[in-house]
């Protein structure tokens, strides 16, 4: 009996030992990054002895956990602001923020019979402000001469949960509409002014509401719109060209802002010819001087890999947009400042 027990324990120890030898890293934050991180870390774990446990609890939670030093890195759709950085610095020293994911936000709609809706920024802002209430308003009809727009009210669908997608979208509206900027502003959650609006929980809630309600308009990540084949509107960008949301147009938009930093991170309303104007990065945050040197080194290596071409190819396959080379290099250089 005792011999069997000893044998079992020895076998278990032998099996567990290699698993224990792998470096265990933890991260927390943005839900938007989760599909990409999930696949990327798995692929990385195949060739390196590192296992990452990423908790997609939301950007706010990620920043909180990072500040309390319970995770090795945080992930957030909007970089930490000055107050948050100060709190984090008091906890663990200087903070580094690097972009690792790029994505576009599509404008989705539900208008049976309208193949391709076209909207200009002022009209889009007016719809979301609630000043344009009907689909057959002359301002919309003028942009869509060939289409039969119904005489129904516009139902604005937004995200009810706090979301980086909302931030990017409201950031864009703040850039193109001074009225939106003063009345509503940009944020992960805002007070939506239109009286005919509803909130959906998560991208699935929002797109579910749009697809189930004729006459609805909303906004959702490009990846989501592509995978669920939801009709997307074309926008007129700052250069006056009509563009649709795709990996190429978002990539062009990002490339036109080569000097992104954590304080100057907005890339909406880009002016190049084939730019989709509603796009944004998602960021990882790390301490410059991590306390655990081994884990810090492993974190640095995996995050630099994440910003590199191989990992970004994985992102592309999941309908994110791969980082343009200049931003990828910038991200890698920022992470290289870690003292490990």
């Amino acid at each position: 009996m005792r011999k069997t027990l000893a044998l079992t324990l020895a076998v278990l120890a032998a099996v567990a030992a290699p698993a224990l030898a792998a470096t265990q890293l933890t991260g927390a934050g943005s839900t938007w990054d989760f599909p990409f991180f999930s696949k990327a870390f798995y692929e990385y774990g195949k060739t390196h002895d590192v296992q990452v446990n990423y908790q997609s609890i939301g950007s706010g939670g990620g920043i909180a956990q990072f500040t309390q030093r319970t995770v090795d890195f945080g992930a957030t759709d909007v970089p930490m602001n000055a107050t948050e950085i100060k709190t984090a610095e008091a906890s663990g020293g200087p903070v580094l923020q690097a972009p690792v994911v790029l994505g576009g936000v599509s404008v989705i709609y539900n208008l049976p019979g309208v193949d391709q809706l076209r909207l200009t920024p002022p009209v889009l802002a007016a719809i979301f402000l609630g000043t344009i209430k009907n689909w057959n308003d002359p301002r919309i009809a003028k942009l869509n001469p060939g289409d039969k727009l119904p005489n129904t009210g516009i139902v604005v669908v937004h995200r009810s949960d706090g979301s980086g997608t909302t931030y990017t979208f409201t950031d864009y509206l703040s850039h193109v509409s001074p009225q939106w900027k003063s009345k509503v502003g940009a944020g992960k959650s805002v007070a939506w002014p239109s009286s005919n609006s509803v909130g959906g929980k998560g991208s699935e809630g929002l797109s579910g509401q749009v697809t189930n309600s004729p006459g609805a308009i909303g906004y959702v990540e490009l990846a989501y719109a592509l995978q669920n084949k939801i009709p997307q509107a074309m926008l007129q960008n700052k250069a006056g060209k009509w563009v649709e949301d795709s990996q190429a147009t978002v990539k062009a938009s990002a490339a036109s802002h080569p000097d992104v930093t954590a304080t100057n991170f907005s890339i909406v309303d880009s002016a190049c010819a084939q730019c989709w104007p509603i796009a944004g990065y998602s960021w990882v945050v790390v301490f410059k001087n991590p306390q655990d040197k081994t884990k810090g080194k492993a974190t640095k290596q995996i995050l630099q890999w994440l910003a590199g071409a191989d990992a970004q190819k994985i992102a592309g396959s999941l309908d994110y947009v791969p980082l343009p080379p200049n931003v990828s290099a910038l991200s890698s250089k920022t992470l290289a400042q870690m003292n490990v």
Partner: protein
């Protein structure tokens, strides 16, 4: 000849040790009970501590301001309180009506072979997870409200302000009330059935012997006699409806605005917390959300306490 009994030799009992063990056991059970009281007290204190910045910034204004703006950090809970209370009221009106009648059926009219399985099926409804109710509500009930139920009620009852107005999308205060009604129906039915059965047979026999029909007995004697217990059941169900989060947030439309019509989207205290807490940053924002939790805690505590007290009064008198 009687067998002479020898006194059985016995070890003298150590009464001091026995007393000590008794005392230790008593202390243990008291401590176990105290843990629960402490838990509730600590929860309350933590909620107050967490909502302190918001209590300082807004004070009592929080309860009657209508603005919920995370960008400018202006928070007011009135539309949320309205949404929570009204959706729960719709739920208990609907569930109360159907539930009491179902309980009366199960206790009084159903034949034996039907009462047991039917009661079992009703209690099965209570076992359905709330997120499943939410999904069903979003994909089945919301389109039904938008396309059939809503227009029908507007057509017949549209002259009443609360049933007026177009149905924006199927997700509305009314849909949330319907879903909550379904979720609390088992509670109302099960407890009401117990209470009705607890009414003594004497009352029924007396009523019948005076010439009342079965229906008159139930409607005018049995139900009025059990009204305290049924009221307790309804308040218990109300407590559940007030705190329901996931099913509500999927079908209520998530718009913090007070509108006359039930077919407009609305918002509840629990839904806001579930939706915005993960991404909230800033002391005032987070503490406002915690203050919503505090409000919900106080309301649920009071409602549940009341219900328990009522039910205890009634059950105690069962012969």
């Amino acid at each position: 000849m009687a067998v002479e009994r020898q006194p059985i030799a016995r070890k003298p009992r150590n009464y001091a040790l026995i007393a000590a063990i008794d005392f230790a056991f008593l202390a243990l059970v008291y401590v176990a009970a105290a843990v629960f009281v402490l838990l509730v007290a600590m929860l309350f204190l933590e909620l107050v501590r967490g909502s302190w910045p918001s209590l300082q910034a807004f004070g009592a204004r929080f309860l009657w301001t209508s603005h919920w703006n995370p960008v400018t950090s202006q928070f007011g809970a009135l539309p949320l309180i309205y949404g929570t209370i009204v959706s729960s009221l719709i739920a208990i009106v609907l569930a109360g009506f159907v539930g009491i009648l179902a309980a009366a059926f199960l206790a009084e009219f159903a034949p034996g072979w039907l009462a047991q399985p039917l009661g079992f099926v009703i209690e099965l409804l209570a076992a359905v997870p709330s997120v499943v109710f939410g999904l069903w509500g979003l994909f089945v009930l919301a389109p039904a409200v938008r396309n059939q139920i809503g227009p029908f009620l507007i057509h017949t009852l549209g002259w009443i302000p609360v049933f007026s107005g177009p149905v924006v999308t199927g997700t509305s205060l009314f849909t949330a009330g319907l879903i909550l009604a379904l979720m609390i129906l088992p509670t109302v039915t099960a407890i009401s059935r117990e209470v009705i059965i607890a009414i003594g047979g004497d009352l029924r026999e007396a009523s019948m012997s005076l010439g009342a029909t079965k229906w008159e007995t139930v409607a005018r004697v049995v139900l009025p006699a059990s009204r305290v217990g049924i009221f307790g059941a309804i308040i218990l169900a109300l407590g559940r409806a007030l705190g329901e989060t996931i099913a509500t947030t999927m079908v209520i439309g998530n718009r913090p605005e007070i509108v006359a019509s039930f077919f407009a989207p609305s918002y509840t205290l629990a839904s806001v917390i579930a939706n915005e807490f993960t991404e909230a940053n800033g002391a005032v924002y987070i503490s406002s959300l915690i203050e919503l939790g505090l409000l919900l805690f106080i309301v649920s505590f009071v409602v549940n306490g009341l219900a328990r007290l009522l039910l205890w009064t009634v059950m105690r008198e069962r012969p």
